[in-house]
Symmetry: C2
């Protein structure tokens, strides 16, 4: 009978005890407990519940369209034409969009977005990406056979790590990541049971990467694992810094010397706001260091449709360029990709528009550039505004948001609040962010989800809300922080 | 200098020696060596080279649109409207498509397909899927919170296996799979370093699943691992059988008794051709077995936009329904999904159309059903034709193609050919398929890529080419097979 069945085999097959422990170890703060809580509050408000605020503002994730950013018209026209080719006859679609859509469809089996592409992506899109990279890097050669389309950048990053982290020896494979980091990295490392090797960015120096810290982290790690790869996020997430060329040279020299595989996460390459900063691709810098570097350092760099000025997260488009990979390993990479069949075709088409935008002599040029400048101009304004307002709050210190889409301010949390959090078994910045959410409806992510120096506290917020909403949000953060400080200082 | 650098660190970081051995172990025949060869021949022909044929026919993969199948108009209309909402004003789009697109966009952040959805998918799409399942299963309840959108079915299957296969104990976790199988399963098992537990389908009985064989495989496996999960593909891939209700009951009873997690791959649920066969979902059968089964057996079933009558592979859409999963484990599943952010939104929208097609009182109903019946009718004709022509060839025996999209005929390979293959270090059916490709341009996948009883040989071919092309293809296979038999029998 049922009872004896349940008793004799202990109920469920898959329980917290039998679950893959590496899954259990995964943490992903950007969609973690605070975001689940925010969703609950949203539902509660929808169902007529009352709170001291009327809406939840989700500043936890770089989801531009959800924050009201409008899609780039030309991109959507091309993807719609690819999706429903009968629109090729419609006079309301411009010829330059039709031309691109036709070209993409010619690269698809049966001229349909519904067929699988080759696992590394549609050939003409790979070629467009290579041409784009050559132009971006002022002539540094790019081979289209080194380009692999991906399902967002995360997919590419996971795939390269999967090659590098060695099955049964996983717990000996060191993966160097910046702290603070984007938690995809720590999640992937947990899932693969590799060793996370932290190098700390220098908060006092605008979150710059300090080469001495890299050496320190590497030497310390070598005592208990074999570091095989260094990950860099530039522009930084969550930290927003843009790396200098000199600093990139130092990292590449270090990787060359220590024989590390380099993964450069460059998804924010179009998001640089401060006039004195400039995006330098790792590949271009490597090229300029000379052939002994350019022909030997193994480098994978990642891009995405989700960020930049397009913010097309839902399309799950992206690519990676991989150079100096052993040809036999490349064949293994293609085999691994083929098990997942191919990245989504609509995302591939969206990626194509980004690397092959309207040219000055084309009909859509003007509108495209207006829309692009408008998005990037607004982001630059919001980056500046965020820094200014936050730095005017006592107990908050925010580095300049040079690039990317986030501010990562340091927050002072009074000792009494730290104690209270600890008594609740909670990170102090989680305690802070939960209070902020409960009292203001603002959802940001605690710094502990990204990593930070012991005893320091931060949160990550996106700069994506409209300027009006962002001002309201920052005002609420200020008021909350001041009253939080008062509350816990009064207790002392 | 460079030389000493290369000497002291041995050149590359990532080599065949340092590559994750589990990646090396992965095999994926559907896009394996024979398909790479086919691509080379295609390029050679394009560049003006000559062969005894003018085109390569790729019957290796279930890629309907690449084989000329036309998309379902309504599905593409809805996705195009979601992609470019300005089309809502266009009179050339029907209201029922606009209504669906509006509803989907209302479920998206910022009403844009470019925002991330919740990791399990857009809420209203999950609800539509649950409603569809209830209708399909004649009232068996489906809870939308048990529905998770996926990036194709492969993604869902990998995710559930990732939960079940336990990190360091992976080499103790047994995963039962049918032989022949779809090689995603063996590839996932290799990648996760789990134990593949084969149960053999009964070729002499139309590839039926024999419950005694299941017990045999399970008992044998228990001697060296702990079988935790049983995978079933129904309708079968590559074998095309449709499981009887009785057989499904037996499998579920077995899973109940032995406390196995059940994964039912039901992506071909709309592809049933033989009038005496019917698709029974595992969930419905479980329900009919009574509450002691329905409330305890852990079951994940998978569906996809890639198969059925839509064939939308490039959209990478799909879903899984997971029942009786421990609530804490479910939270872990959501966490794991959240690291990849979300499945592509266009694929989610495509999935929504499949589960929420035009109703009889709607404008698009007639055209939708014409298109659907036309695709499914042609597939049924081609299934029959393939079986008939193949069975008329001496030395080929093909079970009825009851469902799915493939024939998996058994081929007699003369001993002399087997010897020659072995001398070349090749599987005999690989040798056969390579000869077929070289001489006719037809690309099919050797049975060894799916698994088969020792000493038997097969190939998998899709029934997707147009009826005219399929006749040519089957004629060529016949002629090739006869001359192959002659060649190697003459040698004896």
């Amino acid at each position: 009978d049922q009872t004896s069945h349940l008793i004799c085999n202990g109920g469920k097959t898959l329980t917290m005890d039998t679950l893959n422990p590496q899954v259990k170890a995964v943490e992903y703060a950007v969609r973690g407990p605070i975001v689940i809580k925010a969703g609950e509050i949203e539902k509660y408000l929808e169902e007529g519940g009352t709170k001291p605020f009327s809406e939840v503002i989700k500043a936890n994730i770089g989801d531009a369209h959800a924050m009201g950013q409008q899609p780039i018209t030309f991109l959507r026209q091309v993807v719609a034409l690819c999706t429903f080719p009968e629109l090729m006859d419609s006079p309301s679609f411009p010829e330059d969009a039709k031309w691109r859509a036709r070209r993409i469809l010619q690269g698809c089996g049966g001229h349909s977005l519904g067929s699988y592409s080759a696992s590394p992506g549609v050939e003409c899109i790979r070629k467009d990406i290579a041409a784009y990279i050559e132009q971006r890097d002022e002539g540094v050669p790019s081979d289209w056979e080194n380009i692999y389309l991906t399902t967002g950048a995360s997919d590419g990053i996971m795939t390269i790590l999967r090659l590098l982290v060695s099955g049964k020896d996983s717990s000996r494979t060191g993966v160097m990541i910046p702290i603070p980091q984007y938690p995809l990295y720590s999640a992937a490392i947990s899932e693969m049971d590799a060793v996370q090797v932290n190098y700390y960015l220098d908060e006092d120096n605008c979150w710059a990467l300090d080469i001495n810290e890299l050496y320190r982290a590497y030497q310390a790690a070598k005592l208990h694992c074999q570091p095989k790869v260094i990950c860099i996020i530039n522009p930084g997430n969550p930290t927003g810094q843009v790396q200098s060329k000199k600093c990139i040279e130092e990292v590449l020299h270090f990787a060359y010397e220590e024989n590390l595989f380099v993964m450069s996460d460059e998804v924010y390459q179009d998001n640089v706001y401060t006039p004195d900063c400039q995006f330098h691709s790792f590949k271009k810098v490597l090229y300029e260091m000379g052939p002994e570097y350019f022909n030997s350092v193994e480098l994978a760099s990642f891009h995405s449709t989700s960020k930049g000025y397009t913010g097309e997260c839902g399309f799950r488009g992206g690519y990676m360029e991989v150079i100096n990979m052993d040809p036999e390993v490349k064949a293994q990479l293609v085999k691994l990709l083929s098990v997942r069949l191919c990245p989504p075709l609509a995302g591939q088409a969206a990626m194509d528009v980004i690397v092959n935008p309207p040219q000055p002599d084309e009909h859509s040029y003007k509108q495209f550039h207006q829309e692009k400048s408008s998005v990037l101009g607004a982001l630059a304004d919001k980056a500046k505004l965020t820094e200014q307002i936050l730095n005017a709050v006592p107990g908050i210190k925010c580095n300049p948001v040079q690039g990317a889409m986030y501010a990562f301010p340091r927050i002072f949390i009074p000792p009494k609040a730290v104690e209270e959090a600890k008594a609740l078994g909670m990170q102090p910045d989680m305690f802070y962010c939960l209070r902020l959410l409960e009292e203001t409806g603002i959802c940001v992510v605690p710094g502990s989800g990204f990593g930070q120096k012991d005893g320091t506290y931060h949160f990550r917020m996106t700069i994506l809300p409209s300027i009006e909403k962002l001002k309201v949000l920052l005002g609420k953060v200020r008021d909350f922080h001041i009253s939080f400080l008062k509350e816990y200082s009064a207790l002392e």
